[in-house]
Symmetry: C2
Subunit: 352 residues, 2 copies
């Protein structure tokens, strides 16, 4: 690693991990969910005719796409370019990731017998490209690399519905009707996520984020009964990896206290809950990440600026990472995201 990059890794590079640990930092660290990909012209040029699954199998491409937003925006973290269904594809689940749609599963899982497809994930054998990609990223980048996995409920919903779904009705009918199959399904997905996270961290990933995007559709009672036990097991397992663990879902304002019971190091919050209310509701030992409404970034700069400053003014002085409340929207101007990073970095952190 060149001296300058090494120095950067020690300086800027430490900001994110310090905030993840609940410490005060010189500036508020900032990165964006889905910062790699979609919104960047250099990504679209690179991707051209390749489908997303093929891209994830080419470590040099993954490393390049992962690095693009770091170069352009100056964010404090890279997040591995991948998809939460990648480990499923690696163990042989037939699927495609359709642009503008998301993962589509060829044969949705509906019966106990269907679960046989979920064999254990052995990253070294099933997806050697995964570790290679992380190693290329950490070697090239001067900021921490965040690895990621899908939350068991969210992966289950893709597998059972056959793709993205508004009401996830087959998934939730299975959950309520056949608890034994449900537990087996979530346990298998938890093990797959643990194996994937372990491989990413072994290859150098500095943190792991669990994307449990669709848990917000559950009532607190159902989340606690049918999902939280396996999420606790997942976070307990991730703790053994020794890196900060982030937990994120969309529309989870009614679940924050329960999600906190999985004891993540960091809770990602979407834009529906004002950050100061989230801070009041989540134990102080858990750092927060979020939560600018991504549609705000489609507005003129003065609106983005005012909203970002408002958020910074209400956010905790320590243990806080600036992010969007969900992924960067494809129509977002890269210039806006770059100015947003500059704005966040230009602000002094309040003393407590």
């Amino acid at each position: 690693m060149p001296a300058t990059l090494s120095a950067l890794r020690a300086g800027t590079g430490r900001r994110l991990l310090a905030a993840f640990r609940g410490e005060q930092t010189d500036r508020v660290p900032v990165w964006f969910m889905r910062q790699a990909g979609r919104a960047l012209p250099e990504y679209r040029a690179l991707r051209a005719d390749l489908d997303l699954v093929s891209m994830t199998h080419r470590p040099e491409l993954v490393a390049e796409v992962t690095a693009q937003p770091v170069r352009r925006y100056g964010v404090d973290a890279a997040i591995l370019f991948s998809d939460i269904v990648s480990p499923l594809e690696a163990i042989g689940v037939e699927l495609a990731i359709r642009p503008g749609v998301g993962p589509v599963i060829a044969s949705p899982l509906r019966t106990p017998a269907d679960l046989r497809v979920l064999r254990p994930f052995e990253p070294d054998l099933d997806a050697p490209w995964l570790g290679q990609a992380v190693r290329l990223c950490t070697a090239e980048l001067d900021v921490p690399v965040i690895g990621f996995v899908g939350g068991p409920f969210t992966l289950a919903s893709y597998l059972v519905e056959g793709g993205p779904s508004k009401a996830q009705e087959h998934t939730r009918a299975l959950m309520l009707s056949d608890e034994r199959t449900w537990r087996a399904l979530l346990d298998a997905l938890c093990d797959i996520a643990l194996a994937s996270a372990a491989a990413q961290v072994a290859a150098g990933a500095d943190a792991v984020q669990v994307f449990d995007s669709w848990i917000g559709s559950l009532s607190p009672d159902h989340y606690e009964r049918y999902v939280l036990p396996v999420v606790r097991r997942l976070f307990d397992g991730l703790a053994g990896l020794g890196v900060p663990r982030v937990y994120f879902g969309v529309g989870t304002g009614h679940l924050l206290e329960l999600m906190a019971r999985a004891q993540p190091d960091v809770l990602g919050v979407d834009w529906r809950v004002p950050i100061e209310l989230a801070r009041a509701r989540v134990p102080a030992t858990i750092a927060l990440q979020g939560n600018l409404d991504p549609t705000i970034c489609l507005a003129p700069w003065q609106i983005v600026e005012a909203e970002a400053l408002s958020l910074l003014g209400r956010a905790p002085a320590r243990g806080y990472v600036f992010n969007l409340g969900h992924g960067v929207l494809p129509a977002t101007s890269p210039a806006t995201m770059q100015r947003l990073v500059e704005l966040v970095h230009s602000q002094s952190v309040r003393n407590e």
Copy 2:
């Protein structure tokens, strides 16, 4: 009206309106959003090849479809079979209602000039079938008929996106970027909703529900700033009609207090917020309606029963109407919904 029906209207028929007014009732009244249509075989037989828009233009069909769930389930209310975009179609907005998708608008509104299509709605001239359908329903049915309109934000999102949308990004970009056009758009939609509601009540509708399905995507700050003012104007206007006014949106746990500021008579709550927490957060002068997770109705009966009894045990003793937290899902068995109505009606109301 035959004597038996008249007697029923005076008995069962009063239950819903009493609960809407916050009064105690002999039994908890129950009806289901989307009870008419999709899930009923007699509806599918009737509809056959007709598209939904054509159906709404035929009062005798609308009355029949509206009556079907009352006959089959024994619910305490009918809700007019219609769609929230019907008044838009009636004033000439080119649209289709696609099965499994929802309303699709031929030319999405994006500029101030595009708003010209939203001329005032004159129900007697533009949609004579609307009043005729309500008159047929109220003449035939022994339970109250609930009329309904779309909330301005939700209608705006269909018009601006061109159809249903996950992130509503064009809508919210317009909202943030061009407040003048935004206000004009919402004001026009508010006037259209008021005209539609007035026509339905003049024809005999006993209550009006405002379906503002998609407001849950907004942060409290944005809802308060960009949407609540017009919703207040809408509810103020509806007050002049002299019937109970219900306000409902999906995923609105973070907005309940703000929605209550529009002073509806009844607030519809989705399943994400436990009903006893909703009761604690909403002023006691406002009745509550909800909130069984509709996916529960896809589970075996013993699950439905346990969940419904749990809800009834936690629900307020007065000023409460049993409903789902969103519409009946198409795959729901009518037998389940019938048993659910019987179950609700079999329970004694707790004394306060």
